[in-house]
């Protein structure tokens, strides 16, 4: 039982990490970035390739993967969202162009890495097993949880206490007014995508490290649950995404423990509907949905 709770928390921290990148873009820019799952998948493959080629230690690897992700985010913003800015159908068109960007990315991944799954070398990260009061956790799981917490708290700090965060909140509140008071909306938008994609790629690489391999469907496998996390937490809410990630991770693990694994797909979504019926704005959403 305790073990299943721990399993749920570890799975949930990855869901949360996937979801905060996604919800960050929505919260600030009102863009639904459907390329996020592809960026997540790319992070896994890039992480594996860099680790295998250079053998660099894990604490160097993740910043490098994040940097690659940030570049991908800048490119995504430049080609899929910026050209549409100001159009009447900006939000809907952005949705479609981000799907297209994701499709291109997945095709590039297939061209570079082929169709077979790739994995980290077994000796890349020694996977020790620890036991605390009857709960078994691997070193990878601890690193995942630790890194997820650090990144989430770091992001929360960045948004609430730095000049960039202030500018982000200003853009979220009212882009035109933000421009009037001297906020460079273009760079805030680009920065938001860079940050979101950096988080996405790190989450992808972390998941690949946990699972032992990555294939092109990695992002797809987490995308639906990631969306459920965002809705459950309240669209645009960082704290909501974190909490909902853990809640859904726990829900899945406990479903398997008490019922049967065939119900695993149903319970998180049933939970989602239940929350929406009782509290339509989600766990942490405000009536004024826009927040960072």
């Amino acid at each position: 039982m305790l073990q299943q709770l721990a399993n749920g928390v570890f799975a949930g921290s990855i869901y949360a990490l996937f979801a905060i990148g996604f919800t960050l873009v929505f919260g600030i820019l009102r863009h639904l970035n459907l390329a996020h799952a592809a960026i997540f998948t790319a992070g896994a493959f890039v992480g594996i390739e860099i680790a295998t080629r250079t053998g660099m230690p894990i604490w160097v690897l993740f910043p490098v993967v994040a940097a690659v992700g940030a570049l991908a985010g800048l490119l995504l913003e430049r080609v899929a969202f910026r050209p549409l800015a100001g159009r009447d159908d900006e939000h809907f068109a952005g949705l479609i162009s981000s799907v297209a960007f994701g499709g291109v990315l997945i095709a590039l991944i297939q061209a570079r890495y082929g169709t077979e799954p790739k994995s980290f070398k077994q000796d890349y990260f020694p996977n020790q097993l620890f036991e605390f009061g009857g709960i078994r956790v691997t070193l990878t799981q601890l690193v995942t949880l630790g890194l997820a917490l650090v990144l989430m708290l770091g992001l929360a700090w960045l948004v609430s206490a730095t000049p960039l965060g202030r500018a982000m909140r200003a853009v979220a509140e009212n882009p035109t007014a933000a421009k009037v008071v001297g906020v460079n909306v273009h760079s805030v938008t680009a920065g938001t995508y860079a940050l979101s994609s950096a988080l996405g790629t790190v989450a992808g690489a972390l998941l690949a490290l946990n699972l032992g391999q990555a294939d092109r469907g990695l992002g797809l496998s987490i995308e639906l649950i990631g969306f459920a996390v965002i809705i459950l937490g309240g669209l645009g809410s960082l704290w909501g995404a974190m909490a909902a990630g853990i809640v859904l991770g726990l829900a899945e693990a406990l479903t398997i423990h008490y019922f049967d694994s065939t119900w695993k797909g149903l319970v998180p979504f049933a939970l989602l509907f239940l929350v929406l019926v009782i509290r339509p704005r989600g766990l942490f959403g405000h009536v004024k949905v826009r927040e960072v």
């Binding site: 297939q110 169709t115 994995s119 699972l211 294939d215 423990h257 694994s261």
Partner: protein
């Protein structure tokens, strides 16, 4: 949006036209034999002037590409060897079904009607075969499956054959072999409930376990796209079983076995056909140690031509062949046998002779196909030791 009545009428007329056009092209398949495909002599002396076209439909991309790529290579290698022998010249027309039923149906349609092939090998997955084989049957084109192991495939019709050891036969061999060498009493069964092949194997596993008097103490499922198995494995860990019987596609097998070993589940893991791949062993590295695999082919088996097959395959593709490659390779030789029997590469003749193959000496060992289309061969049971498949 509402259609104006005139455009609605036009649409209906257009639809009617399409339907009637469809009816014209749906005329029953003509199975008149082409005399150019009938040659002279029999067996090794058979000579056919016209090139014999054989269609191959494999999943070269997407989910089942792990198998399809090997199949196309194994089949291609055999066609090259057969062409070097002379007498009958083969042309392989390769189609990728992208691991979808729609593309598989389109590929069969193209091969049957446009290319007018003599026979079709494939598709890779049973899921697709259930639809495409109905088309092949009604068109009167012999289809030979090389990895379609689900129950009920040969029963589709008299034009449908398979040279792929059914999963139930592989498991019926590997589970008793594991019981004998490891003394199994209590086991965990984990299976992919979202795939036809693995779900059908699951039923077989329960039957075989019941026959062997082995108790199932953990029975858990997962879905093809799942990647995190910690919740299921925790149940396995708590039950402290003698072995884990796993029915999964390679995509899930690698992370599942790795995660099991990470959690220090030391119990041996027993599986069927899908485990039988050097890629799997390579991806699992040391975690593959002790995997027990029932299958149709082993690199370690001393069957006729096996050593040459492995050497030639490696020379051509720079990787070790797997069971999928070996079965597709064998399929080409089986078709060649069927064609040479009456020196006739017409669809009808191939159908008649494929069902008469008796104890053909192949790299899979002696292999027979009966009139119902079902294959008979001895399964091999292997265990991974020091990163290599060895016979158990």
């Amino acid at each position: 949006m509402r259609l104006k009545s005139s455009s609605a009428a036009a649409a209906i007329a257009a639809a009617a036209l399409l339907v009637s056009a469809g009816c014209v092209s749906e005329s029953p398949a003509s199975n008149e034999s082409d005399s150019a495909l009938t040659g002279s002599g029999t067996g090794a002396d058979c000579t056919i002037d016209e090139t014999v076209k054989i269609g191959a439909v494999f999943s070269l991309t997407e989910a089942a590409a792990f198998a399809g790529a090997y199949q196309s290579e194994g089949f291609e290698l055999a066609i090259e060897e057969l062409n070097a022998v002379g007498g009958v010249k083969y042309e392989m027309i390769l189609e990728d079904d992208k691991t979808t039923v729609e593309d598989s149906v389109a590929a069969f349609e193209k091969l049957i009607n446009r290319d007018e092939v003599s026979a079709i090998v494939g598709p890779t997955l049973s899921n697709m075969a259930f639809t495409t084989y109905t088309d092949a049957q009604s068109a009167g084109v012999p289809a030979l499956g090389v990895s379609t192991t689900a129950e009920g495939i040969p029963e589709i019709g008299d034009y449908i054959f398979r040279a792929s050891l059914p999963e139930e036969v592989a498991l019926a061999a590997s589970i008793p072999a594991a019981k004998e060498s490891l003394g199994l009493e209590e086991v965990a069964v984990l299976y992919d409930s979202a795939d036809e092949f693995t779900a059908s194997a699951y039923n077989t596993i329960l039957d075989v376990l019941a026959d062997e008097g082995i108790e199932v103490v953990v029975d858990e499922s997962f879905e093809t796209a799942d990647a995190d198995f910690s919740a299921q494995l925790t149940k396995v860990l708590e039950a402290d079983v003698d072995a884990v019987i796993l029915s999964a596609l390679p995509g899930a097998t690698v992370p599942l076995v790795k995660q099991a070993r990470d959690l220090e589940i030391e119990a041996p893991i027993v599986g069927g056909n899908a485990f039988n791949s050097p890629v799997l062993v390579g991806a699992l590295e040391t975690a593959s140690e002790g995997l027990i695999v029932g299958g149709a082919w082993s690199a370690a088996a001393e069957t006729t031509g096996n050593a040459e097959f492995i050497a030639n395959y490696f020379a051509k593709y720079e990787r070790q062949p797997d069971q999928f490659a070996a079965q597709a390779y064998t399929a080409a030789y089986l078709l060649d046998q069927a064609i040479r029997a009456d020196c006739d590469a017409n669809r009808e003749a191939i159908k008649d002779n494929l069902g008469q193959i008796l104890e053909f000496d192949s790299i899979l060992g002696p292999i027979s196909i009966d009139e119902s289309g079902e294959v008979t061969q001895e399964p091999v049971v292997q265990i991974v030791r020091d990163g290599e498949f060895t016979l158990l």
